[in-house]
């Protein structure tokens, strides 16, 4: 896999699942926490990527 976005999704999935299981004990709260964390990570990464667009690659 060479896609930056694919790696970002994979990494986000692993890390958000890890922290959801680590920090919450009820299944419902785990799922909610994991989805919220994953959404925040993806949106933050896309926002930073957009903000850095003017800089040369």
């Amino acid at each position: 896999m060479q896609s930056h976005f694919g790696h970002m999704l994979l990494f986000t999935g692993l890390v958000s699942t890890f922290f959801a299981v680590l920090s919450r004990s009820e299944s419902r709260r785990r799922i909610r926490f994991g989805l919220t964390m994953a959404a925040c990570m993806i949106l933050l990464a896309l926002g930073l990527a957009w903000a850095m667009y003017p800089f040369p690659g």
Partner: protein, 154 residues
């Protein structure tokens, strides 16, 4: 799964912390959080395996940037003995320090040459990030096992 925090005693807590470093998730397993232990083993194991699959670079202490390279080695070592085996296989020897006379643009030692070869891979950035993440995850698991062991967390 227990919901009330309970103390497990100093010896068992210490054993759980050591087990957590040796095998990711084993600390939780020993303290009765078996489901969590298995999930953590799979998560850390998958992350570590992805690191190896994507040409992750084992960190070595480089005198040109000591703080950053020490932090990278710390993150690597957190993954436990599996990291030592992987390091031995990837670098050809179990070393954590770049030879002093090899800190330059033209490495001469086998480790320096191997590191330069790995760095040329287009995937090494991804793999290295996965390796660091697996180690840091396992360090958090050791601390979590400690908290469970002393009764601070259920």
């Amino acid at each position: 799964m227990s919901t009330q925090p309970e103390e497990h005693g100093a010896g068992r807590t210490l054993l759980a912390c050591i087990a957590a470093w040796l095998i990711p998730g084993a600390g939780h397993f020993l303290l009765g959080r078996r489901g969590r232990g298995v999930v953590f083993f799979l998560l850390v194991g998958t992350t570590f395996s992805l690191g190896l699959a994507f040409d992750g670079k084992p960190a070595v202490v480089d005198r040109r940037q000591p703080l950053l390279s020490w932090l990278q080695v710390f993150a690597n070592v957190g993954a436990g003995p599996a990291e030592m085996v992987a390091r031995r296989c990837v670098l050809g020897e179990l070393t954590y320090v770049l030879p002093a006379d090899d800190a330059g643009p033209t490495p001469r030692s086998p480790v320096g040459l191997k590191l330069r070869e790995i760095t040329r891979s287009a995937r090494t950035g991804y793999g290295t990030a996965y390796l660091w993440t697996a180690g840091l995850m396992n360090i958090l698991l050791i601390l979590d096992a400690f908290d469970i062991g002393i009764g601070r967390k259920s």
